[in-house]
Every structure is written in C-alpha cells, then in structure tokens.
C-alpha cells in the first residue's frame, strides 16, 4: 500500500530527501518549526534570535542529513543539534540566564520580547506579564530541570527521546520532570487561573 507523505514518518521523509526529493525537507520543517522555534525562544529569550537559530539548525541538519541513522528518532537528533547550537549562542553572546530584564547603560530595565499571540507581536500587558513570569520561572530552575522541562513542554519530546538525548535513565527523566513541574507550579500559581 502506498502511504501518502502526509502520513509519512520523519524517517520516511528523510529517506525521500536523501533520494533527491528536496521538497520533503519542507514537510519536516512544517512539522517541527513551531516546537523548534518555541524551544529556542525559551533558551534565547528573543523571538528573532530563535527564528534565526532555528533556521541555522535546520540548514545544518540538512547539510549532514546523510549521517542520520533511521534507527533513532529524527526529533531526538534535531533537538540535540538545536540544544548545542543554543548553548553555543548563549555562550557567545554571554546572555544572562538568571534575569529577564537587561539593564541598559542608564540602569533602566528593558523587557525581553515576549510572545502575546492574542494582540500583535508584543501584545497586551497581561500576556507580557504572563510570558515574563513563565520565562522568569523557567530561568530560575536549575539547569538539570530546566533543560528537561523545555524539551518536554516546548520541544514536545516524549520521555524516551528525552532519556536518549540526555543519556539518562527513563526513571530519572520522569523524576526530574515531576520535580521541575512542582517548582514551576509554585512560581506560576497566580497565572494558573487565567
């Protein structure tokens, strides 16, 4: 039975691209762009940078697509490349992961651009406040919890893929996600009823 590309697995799409059907890479992009951009946005805290880096990551993945081993999940590979690229960029730009605000020379705070889908790119106050609170709560998490929370909630990776990506036992992933969520919930309690 012939399976349409709409139902094709990631691995099928990669195989099609490697056979010379370049357009199938567009299907992979459509499939992952939302998760990838949002995952990178939470790491870089800037929507433009997240888009730019997501593009770099996808181009990089395309260039070495022949090295992809279909025995493993494409998403695991993609997010590993994305995480490493984001860490490199954070190091390069010396972003401070602790604070949501960046002090300018006069000592005044400048908000990072935060998403507010309901009303334009930088949206209304409540959205901005909520986005800021989420980012602040995520940034306050120890890295070992933060990376798992981001992979699970923004990368939407299943437990097994996170375990493989981080080379951790599955039980550790479950445990850290549970603890990370508890910490986040405490900080975001005021916004849960929105």
């Amino acid at each position: 039975m012939t399976r349409g590309m709409e139902q094709a697995t990631d691995e099928d799409l990669v195989a099609a691209v490697l056979r010379g059907d370049r357009d199938r890479f567009g299907d992979l992009i459509e499939r992952y762009q939302g998760r990838l951009v949002n995952y990178l946005f939470r790491l870089l805290r800037n929507a433009d940078d997240a888009h730019d880096l997501a593009q770099e990551v996808l181009v990089k993945v395309y260039q070495v697509l022949d090295r992809y081993d279909p025995q493993y999940k494409f998403s695991t590979w993609l997010f590993r490349v994305a995480q490493n690229a984001a860490i490199d960029q954070i190091r390069r730009r010396r972003l401070k992961l602790v604070s949501l605000r960046q002090e300018d020379e006069e000592g005044e705070g400048r908000d990072w651009d935060l998403p507010s889908p309901e009303r334009g790119p930088y949206g209304d106050l409540r959205n901005q406040e909520r986005g800021g609170a989420i980012q602040e709560a995520i940034d306050a998490l120890p890295w070992e919890y933060r990376e798992l929370i981001l992979l699970r909630h923004f990368g939407e990776l299943p437990y097994e893929e996170i375990a493989r990506l981080k080379e951790m036992p599955l039980g550790t992933v479950k445990n850290k996600l549970f603890r990370g969520r508890q910490m986040l919930k405490e900080k975001l309690r005021d916004f849960l009823s929105d």
Binding site: N38, L65, V81, Q83, P117, R130, L192
Partner: protein
C-alpha cells in the same frame, strides 16, 4: 500490592498528564481522585499549567519554512543521491553500449550482434583493468627503487631513520594536544552533535 501514598498519586497525576500512566494505575488514580479533593485540584492545576505554556507560545513567522528552504545550500551528499546519479549513469551505460556496438561492428565486418557488443565491452573493461594494474605495479616498483637507494648507504639510511623518528614524534605530540581539547569540547557541548542521533 502496597497501597500507594499521596505523593505517589501526585507523580501518577503528572504521568497521566503526559499520557504515560498504565491502565491499572490509572484506574486506581481515578478511584483515589473520587475521594481526594487535593489531588483533584492538583490535576486541574496540571491542566492549567499546560494551557499556560500553550498560550504563551511564540507564533512562527509565516514565511519561515520558505525562507529555510530558500537558504538550503547544496549539501555534499546531494551529489551522491541516487536520483542525481541516475541520469549520468544511464547516459554512460548507453554510450558504452553504443561504443561496444561500433567496435564489434568494425572488427567483425558483419552486422553487430548483442553478444559481440557485450564481448567488445568486456574487452574494453579488461584493457582498462590491465592498464590500471600496470600503473600500480610501476608506482610500487618506483617506491621500491627509492627505498633500495636509501638503504644502500649508511648515511642516507641514518638520515631517513631520523626523519621518520621526527615525524612520529610530531604526530604523537599532535595527538596528545588534540585529545584533552576534544574531550573538553565534547563535555562542554553535552555530547555528540551531528552524529545522526547516536
């Protein structure tokens, strides 16, 4: 089976939110929830928590996919992809076949047959293989003559040995220098990056 404590139910609620709870545990959780207001509240909070993340998602630019596709360079593997090779390989095979027919036709004087064409092609391949083998043999012979020349004199043998020793030392020092740097880089980067998911 032991009766799960309250913290276990809270862990189960988290697993359930991710669709990771086994049916049997899920049934026990539902039973517990019927009589535990705190856990019911916890479940509501978890749902709200996920909703909060979804509402704060950054919208992806509408032209993002197109701009990525436009930015894709020519990857090294593209030259090796079957579709890229299909056409040139087919043309080469056809040319060889035509050449085979022509050679067979010109040598036999009679109308070329398929068998004669294949025989002619085989002859061409044999000739190419012989030429390659001859070249390889000649290069090895050349190397042999140089080595023979070097070891014939004690001075040149000593100089050659010294050169080999220096090259080895250089190689060892380079490997030593690269090893710690590579290990540190790998540790800092959290593992392999573009290793195909392994």
């Amino acid at each position: 089976m032991n009766r799960p404590d309250h913290s276990t139910f809270q862990e189960w609620l988290n697993l359930d939110a991710d669709g990771r709870l086994a049916p049997e545990e899920r049934a026990r959780l539902e039973q517990h929830l019927a009589g535990c207001e705190e856990c019911r509240l916890e479940r509501e909070e978890l749902a709200a928590f996920q909703g909060l993340f979804e509402r704060s998602a950054v919208p992806v630019r509408s032209d993002f996919a197109d701009s990525v596709m436009a930015a894709l360079p020519h990857a090294g593997w593209e030259g090796r992809s079957p579709r890229t090779w299909q056409f040139p390989v087919a043309v080469a095979a056809m040319l060889m076949l035509v050449a085979g027919f022509l050679i067979a036709g010109s040598t036999s004087g009679a109308a070329p047959s398929g068998l004669a064409a294949l025989d002619a092609m085989g002859g061409m391949v044999r000739a190419a293989a012989l030429a390659g083998a001859g070249l390889l043999g000649a290069s090895w012979k050349g190397i042999g003559l140089i080595v023979e020349d070097v070891i014939s004199s004690p001075v040149s043998l000593g100089a050659f040995g010294f050169l080999v020793l220096c090259l080895n030392l250089l190689l060892v020092s380079l490997v030593r220098r690269r090893k710690p740097a590579a290990a540190a880089a790998s540790l800092a980067r959290g593992g392999r990056e573009t290793d195909g998911g392994r």
